[in-house]
């Protein structure tokens, strides 16, 4: 029999298909109704079994709600709740079959309900077990992006074309970029392996390349090795993989550069105070790192105060308050130290080095007795996460904040040193102590103020460091030698030198870490500094002219 595909035939087929689809939809709504108000337990069991077998995406959220025991009734309509509460014990609601949407009020805000307003629908375990077989598919429609990603990866190795179709449907409504990337990767990989000609395969290789998931280079490489069609396609895949890897390396380099920048800014923040104090008073303050530790603990105490005494759990406020508080507390303790110990040691750098080392031992032990060995400060909500420049390059907000803070502090210090009367006096005392005293500058007072500022800057650095690390009593020691290296390389008391060498040392540390291991990077830097000092024994920016020594 000869069938001619006239328009009439096509119309007929279309009608038939529509009818079939309609039947499926109808039966799904019947089963859903049976499930919610079963006339008998066996009816409900049958309804769930049928729904699981039909695999209609629109019913998936409903089935998942059953599977997760989160099916509720609100005004006789089936709803489900978010995985986490969105307020004080209230949840956002999602309607279930036939429409799967977030419930909103008239002004477009999500509606919040307490659990008590909802009527829980209890489905026995035996019925729920019927869904075990399609559990991974159900997750495709989860409200939780992580679960969806998991579901996509679970579909990776299924050659099943109906699963592919489901995947495609799910991807069409995917909103999360990460999940979408993973899902597309799985889909394209499956299609690539099922491709029937070279042109198609190449098109899918291109899609995978454009999608660029973490897995893409590995995927393309293994495809290139298997050599499905001919050498040409294989080479093409290998080329694409190589180009992806190259781009990834490039981004990695930017990431390294960024970490170097952030390490450098921490070093600058610490070294700034160190450098000013040494330049002005000839004091090597080995306890400088401990003022950083004090700043960090002040931040920790501020957090405790805010959460426990004031009852403000939000992390943003305490951190904003902690910035000035840590500056003042560390500065005040620095002033105390200056009054008690340091003022006897002006212009005796080596002696001050030993005495302040003693002070640092005392401070560390005090902190250990007071706080124990390990405490951590919560990162403010504002600074969690990062700026996603591209899928493979994320710049964390906390590090960006540290860089910005350093920038601000450097500018403030610059303004203080070069644009204010105090700064003028500080620079005068730094240049020539006796002469400044003769001209009526109270050198002792200036020194004390400088010490306050220097210690305060260290405290601020400590506050910033709580964003990236733990608070431990001997945290200052990790940075002190490095920051002294910054001072030495930059030239004592030189703002520009401190900034340049701080950035340089931070940057080189991270770059060398990428090539060698962290430790060897450090050794290299040291060797480099020693060689550098052959040419610039007085740092990057030495004083002009010759100053007689002794």
């Amino acid at each position: 029999m000869k069938i001619s595909f006239t328009p009439r035939w096509i119309l007929l087929i279309c009608l038939l298909l529509a009818r079939l689809a309609g039947t499926a939809q109808d039966s799904a709504s019947i089963y859903t109704a049976q499930l919610l108000q079963p006339s008998a337990d066996s009816v409900r069991t049958h309804a769930i079994g049928r729904l699981a077998a039909l695999r209609i995406p629109a019913t998936f959220p409903l089935l998942m709600a059953i599977n997760d025991k989160k099916l509720y009734l609100l005004d006789q309509k089936a709803v489900t709740i978010d995985s986490k509460p969105s307020g004080e014990g209230t949840y956002r609601l999602y309607t279930l079959y036939p429409e799967n949407t977030l419930m909103k009020n008239s002004s477009g805000q999500p509606l919040l309900f307490p659990l008590s307003a909802l009527q829980a629908v209890d489905i026995p375990r035996g019925d729920r077990l019927q869904l075990a077989g399609i559990a991974s598919l159900l997750n495709l429609y989860s409200n939780d992006a992580q679960k969806r990603i998991l579901a996509y990866t679970q579909l990776k190795n299924t050659g099943d074309s109906s699963a592919q179709q489901l995947l495609q449907d799910a991807l069409a409504r995917e909103t999360n970029t990460d999940a979408s990337r993973t899902g597309k990767d799985v889909l394209y990989a499956a299609k690539l392996h099922g491709a029937t000609n070279a042109a198609n395969a190449k098109a899918y290789i291109d899609s995978i390349t454009d999608n660029w998931s973490d897995n893409a280079p590995v995927l393309l490489r293994s495809y290139a090795k298997s050599g499905f069609f001919n050498q040409e396609v294989a080479t093409y895949a290998a080329e694409k993989a190589a180009s992806l890897e190259k781009r990834y390396d490039g981004l990695q380099r930017i990431q390294n550069f960024f970490s170097g920048l952030s390490l450098g800014s921490i070093l600058i923040l610490i070294a700034l105070g160190l450098s000013i104090v040494y330049g002005l008073a000839g004091i090597i303050n080995m306890a400088h790192g401990e003022f950083m530790m004090i700043g960090a603990y002040t931040t920790y105490c501020t957090q405790l105060f805010f959460t426990n005494v004031l009852g403000i759990p939000q992390t943003d406020f305490f951190f904003i308050a902690a910035l000035p508080i840590s500056f003042v507390v560390a500065g005040a303790l620095g002033l105390l130290l200056e009054r008690l110990v340091i003022r006897h040691l002006y212009a005796k750098p080596l002696e001050s080095l030993l005495a302040t080392w003693g002070v640092s031992l005392i401070l560390i032990q005090t902190a250990r007795l007071l706080f124990g060995d390990l405490t951590a400060v919560k990162t403010p909500l504002l600074l969690t996460g990062g700026w996603q420049v591209s899928p493979h390059l994320t710049l964390p907000y906390n590090r960006l904040f540290i860089i910005a803070l350093t920038l601000v502090m450097v500018l403030l210090t610059y303004a203080m040193l070069y644009r204010s009367r105090l700064g003028l006096q500080i620079r005068a005392v730094t240049q020539n102590r006796q002469m400044s005293a003769c001209l009526g500058i109270e050198t002792r007072r200036i020194a004390a103020v400088t010490f306050f500022i220097g210690s305060g800057l260290a405290g601020l650095a400590g506050c910033a460091i709580t964003l990236v690390g733990n608070v431990v009593p001997d945290m200052g020691q990790t940075y002190i030698v490095d920051s002294f290296l910054v001072v030495v390389t930059g030239g004592v008391g030189k703002l520009a030198g401190t900034i340049l060498s701080g950035l340089g040392i931070g940057f080189f540390t991270k770059v060398l870490e990428a090539f060698f291991q962290a430790v060897y990077g450090k050794v290299f830097i040291l060797v480099f500094i020693m060689l550098f000092m052959q040419y610039k024994p007085k740092g990057l920016f030495p004083d002009k002219g010759r100053i007689a020594e002794d």
Binding site: Y278, L345, E351, L354, A355, L361, I362, V487
Partner: protein
């Protein structure tokens, strides 16, 4: 300041440590552990003499003496470990087998012979000191710069020694030795022997340093300390002098380390961290720098205090040490010896006068 040629102190010192202590042990009054502990202190004192030479007499604050000390210790430790490994029939020390290393690393090879070990223990620190000193002194790095750079050097080396890849035992260091040249290290007589050797070496080092400081060479060193530019205007090659004394100090530290190891039975990178290296300098500062007796007494005193305090009040040792640092620097610039001298002067002249020697 110097109680010149007053033999009473020396006789007292020798009487206590060479006769009284061993005699106490023989008669059973003093345990062998006490003997061994003092033997260790002598090793520290030897290193302290080196620090006094370089810092007290020449004015160069070197913070890497702890590193040289450890180099000596590690050298001997490698030898002992290889001997022990051979005795048990294994090819490699345990920790290397754990790190999945098949053959003995090349730099471990020479340590199989005791002669080579002794030579290398001295040669390696000397060479490193020479190289570092050459670079640093040539570019006229001094004072605080010198202190910071040598400190950074120690820090970098400490980090290196912490790694497993350097094949030096990592954080755990080298330990569990059995014999030295066939003598059982755990036996009491060997411990007493090591104590006596350390004591003899301390005396020898002291008199060596005494000769150095009272020679013309020593006078130049002190001149460098007091005014480096003036002595260089007088056509002395400051760099050569500094380099020589830096190497001597490194050697003394290494000798101390070599003797230290068989008496403690363990060496870890912890001996050369930032804290340890500053502490070594502090022995000399507390005892009295620019004074050889001060260095010896400072090393013995601080370590003795340490063992007493950590057993009596473990939490407050750091407080005590910290306060000692601060108070010494603020009020007793010449350390313990300076204090003793000024008290003596006060009794002899009736007026309190601090000593006038420039420092």
């Amino acid at each position: 300041m110097k109680t010149k040629n007053n033999p009473l102190y020396y006789i007292l010192f020798i009487a206590i440590f060479a006769i009284l202590l061993p005699a106490g042990y023989m008669s059973g009054l003093i345990s062998v552990n006490t003997i061994s502990v003092w033997g260790r202190y002598f090793c520290f004192a030897i290193a302290a003499l080196g620090i006094d030479l370089i810092w007290g007499y020449t004015g160069i604050l070197s913070m890497c003496q702890a590193f040289f000390f450890c180099l000596g210790s590690y050298g001997i430790a490698m030898h002992l470990l290889l001997k022990k490994t051979m005795a048990t029939g294994a090819v490699l020390p345990d920790f290397m087998a754990w790190n999945k290393i098949e053959t003995l690393p090349l730099f471990w090879q020479p340590f199989q012979s005791f002669g080579w070990t002794l030579l290398l223990c001295l040669l390696v620190p000397a060479l490193i000191a020479f190289a570092a000193g050459f670079v640093l002194f040539r570019s006229r790095i001094k004072g605080v710069y010198m202190a910071i750079i040598t400190q950074a050097l120690t820090l970098a080396m400490w980090l290196l020694f912490l790694r497993n890849e350097t094949n030096l035992g990592g954080t755990n260091g080298l330990t569990d030795f059995k014999t030295l040249l066939g003598y059982d290290l755990s036996s009491s007589s060997v411990k007493l022997g090591l104590y006596m050797i350390s004591f003899t070496m301390l005396c020898a080092a002291y008199f060596g340093c005494y000769r150095i400081t009272h020679s013309k060479f020593g006078k130049v060193l002190q001149a460098i300390r007091d005014s480096e530019s003036r002595i260089s205007y007088a056509a002395y090659k400051v760099v050569d002098y500094k380099l020589a004394i830096f190497v001597v100090a490194a050697l003394l530290a290494a000798v101390g380390g070599m003797l230290y190891l068989p008496q403690t039975g363990i060496i870890t990178p912890g001996r050369m961290d930032v804290k340890a290296s500053v502490e070594m300098v502090m022995w000399v500062a507390l005892g009295g720098r620019g004074n050889l007796k001060g260095a010896v007494i400072g090393a013995l005193l601080v370590n003795f205090l340490y063992s007493v305090c950590t057993s009596l009040f473990p939490d407050s040792w750091l407080f005590i040490l910290g306060f000692l640092f601060v108070i010494t620097v603020l009020y007793f610039d010449k350390g313990f010896m300076g204090l003793a001298n000024s008290i003596k002067q006060r009794f002899s002249t009736g007026s309190f006068k601090t000593s006038q020697t420039p420092l």
